[in-house]
């Protein structure tokens, strides 16, 4: 599913070049549930964003679903991302002026009837049917994250990338969200979760630890 070869992700801070990811090689197979752990600044999010085709690496190759994603043009990469990758973020990043239903529909590649049915089904599965007309400000943090999960799943992507999805949640809601991600994993999708804590380990098939941009 994911093949990373000699990946380096560097950025400049003042006059210093910092290697967030340093010559990393990693394979993640289809259907895996992988957690990426490590202290702050270890390069977890940079790695996730690079896998997610959102951050051009300084060097190396990233293959997702058999495609060298950074060999694609920006437009092709946008289309690839929409069809193959679902994102879940710690801060949810829901659009504040849209309802729960509309926030999920925002991800839709096709704005047709079947997609609407699919959104309703997803909201039902995630226990959000009664909140579909509510705006993000009217939701609890757990509901916000479940809305973000529904949005990530709408286009039925084979890969879900989650950046600290439980970082803003209380233990109970964190458990609910991880259970949902586990359910998604059981449908055959590949899940990559960046996390600080160890609560996702119970659900993961593999744990990866990063330190100074390298596998620890």
């Amino acid at each position: 599913m994911i093949k990373i070869k000699n990946l380096t992700g560097a950025y400049k801070k003042a006059s210093t070049t910092i290697k967030a990811v340093d010559n990393l090689t990693l394979d993640i197979a289809e259907g895996e549930f992988v957690t990426i752990e490590g202290p702050s600044g270890s390069g977890k999010t940079t790695l996730l964003m690079t896998i997610g085709t959102m951050l051009q690496p300084t060097a190396g190759q990233v293959m997702v679903c058999g495609q060298d994603v950074y060999a694609l043009s920006a437009g092709q990469r946008n289309r690839f991302r929409a069809g193959h990758i679902g994102f879940v973020f710690q801060m949810f990043h829901l659009v504040p002026y849209l309802s729960v239903f509309e926030n999920v529909m925002l991800a839709a590649i096709k704005q047709d009837g079947p997609t609407r049915v699919c959104v309703r089904k997803l909201l039902d599965e995630l226990g959000l049917s009664s909140r579909s007309t509510h705006r993000p400000e009217q939701l609890s943090t757990g509901e916000k994250q479940r809305t973000a999960i529904a949005r990530a799943l709408l286009n039925d992507p084979p890969l879900i990338l989650a950046d600290e999805p439980t970082g803003n949640l209380d233990p109970e809601n964190a458990r609910i969200v991880l259970n949902h991600l586990s359910d998604v994993h059981k449908t055959g999708r590949t899940i990559v979760v960046v996390t600080h804590g160890r609560e996702a380990e119970d659900f993961a098939t593999r744990q990866i630890c990063l330190k100074h941009g390298k596998l620890a």
């Binding site: 999010t45 940079t46 964003m49 997610g52 959102m54 951050l55 920006a74 437009g75 946008n78 289309r79 690839f80 991302r81 929409a82 069809g83 994102f87 973020f89 710690q90 801060m91 990043h93 829901l94 659009v95 504040p96 002026y97 849209l98 509309e102 529909m105 925002l106 991800a107 839709a108 590649i109 704005q111 949005r151 950046d163 600290e164 970082g167």
Partner: protein
């Protein structure tokens, strides 16, 4: 989701930002429209005043008794009507309006009446016809009756009056002239009617040219030349039996006034554009900064630059369209409200100019997009990976 729906929902959500942006563009459009509407009225007002004071150029028959001319306002002699054609056909004179008149004071119904025969205005051969003539355009067989004559003879529109056996239909009974008492005892008619009544076929006793600043081609724009002499020399070849009176003073004042308005507009309009554009840019910057996570998540969902730009800039197309409509009517209303105090004679000319509306629409949309463009591009170029990182 349809872009327009997203734009409308965001407008409702950030209504204060939208209203402030709308107000900035609306204020700009309203001030522009008011400025142009009053400029038009100012222009007409000046023309009207010019007419009341006298023309820039007056061509009268040679050997006119000037004491009679200055006393009565017209010449006691006549010259061929063909002089007008000579004037029109001359390629070396610059003017905007040209009329020929034949005037005589007569006794009519026990009163002294100045019979004034006028030809409809002539325009330069290659000149653009003006929107509003500066003199009456009277069709043969009709008359415009001065206030005092109309009052004394109880004449109103549609009545018939008879002068020396010729019947004329009253087209209008004129309002009292505040500037020239002689206008109150005039009967205006078509030149050819006056020629018939006075038995002076093909004769006139004055040609008046407005805005004939007597630029004579070949003068090279050298201001040191005596333009009056040049004009006389030029006219002498085409109007051999005529005398030329040039009102340079009035023309100069007029030119200075125009130059002043143009200078004023050249300062005010760009300043206003800059200030309002800056306001709009700041409001846009605040708005897109607030929406950076939304832009980031759209990137993550696979939205391209064009789609996100359309979403962000589409709002400013709407702002421009609404501001153009509201600003146009507000500006026209403002000009109409202020106009009568400033331009008592031509305030009626201030009315919605739909040609200006179209221009205002295009300009307001373009202005909104240009003002918002830079902040929007800054927002779009932000790295979504950084924006979406855990705050």
């Amino acid at each position: 989701m349809i872009i327009l729906k997203l734009i409308l929902k965001e407008i409702i959500y950030s209504k204060y930002n939208f209203l402030l942006s709308l107000m900035a563009v609306t204020a700009g459009v309203a001030l522009f429209v008011a400025f142009f509407a009053t400029t038009l009225a100012s222009d007409l007002e000046t023309k009207k005043i010019m007419l009341d004071l006298g023309q820039n150029l007056r061509v009268i028959p040679k050997h006119t008794a000037m004491d009679f001319f200055y006393d009565q306002g017209f010449s006691d002699k006549v010259m061929p009507e063909a002089y007008l054609a000579n004037f029109v056909n001359s390629s070396s004179l610059v003017y905007t309006h040209l009329t020929a008149t034949l005037q005589r004071k007569i006794d009519w119904q026990g009163s002294k009446v100045i019979m004034t025969g006028v030809l409809p205005e002539q325009y330069p051969k290659n000149g653009k016809k003006k929107d509003m003539p500066t003199t009456y355009s009277i069709i043969p067989g009709h008359a415009y009756v001065g206030h005092l004559i109309a009052k004394q003879n109880n004449l109103k529109k549609g009545d018939t009056l008879d002068i020396a056996g010729r019947s004329l239909i009253v087209e209008t009974a004129l309002a009292k002239s505040p500037n020239d008492d002689r206008d109150n005892i005039r009967i205006f008619m078509h030149l050819h009617d006056a020629q018939t009544i006075l038995n002076l076929p093909q004769k006139i006793n004055e040609i008046k040219a407005l805005e004939c600043l007597c630029f004579v081609e070949g003068s090279g724009g050298d201001q040191s030349l005596n333009l009056e002499q040049l004009a006389r020399k030029e006219l002498a070849t085409i109007l051999p039996d005529a005398e030329v009176l040039l009102s340079r003073g009035i023309a100069d004042v007029r030119q200075k006034q125009r130059a002043m308005i143009q200078k004023y507009a050249a300062f005010v309009i760009p300043t206003l554009c800059l200030v309002l554009g800056l306001c709009l840019a700041i409001l846009t910057l605040l708005n897109v900064r607030h929406r950076r996570h939304e832009i980031g998540i759209m990137r993550a969902l696979g939205y391209g630059t064009v789609r996100i730009s359309t979403l962000l800039l589409g709002k400013f197309v709407l702002i421009g369209m609404v501001a153009a409509t509201v600003g146009f009517y507000a500006g026209t209303a403002l000009a109409a409200h202020v106009g009568p105090d400033v331009f008592p004679i031509t305030a009626h000319a201030i009315k919605p100019n739909y040609d200006l509306f179209k221009k205002a629409g295009v300009a307001a949309v373009a202005f909104s997009i240009v003002s918002a463009f830079l902040p929007v591009m800054i927002a779009i170029s932000m790295d979504p990976a950084k924006t979406l990182k855990n705050d």
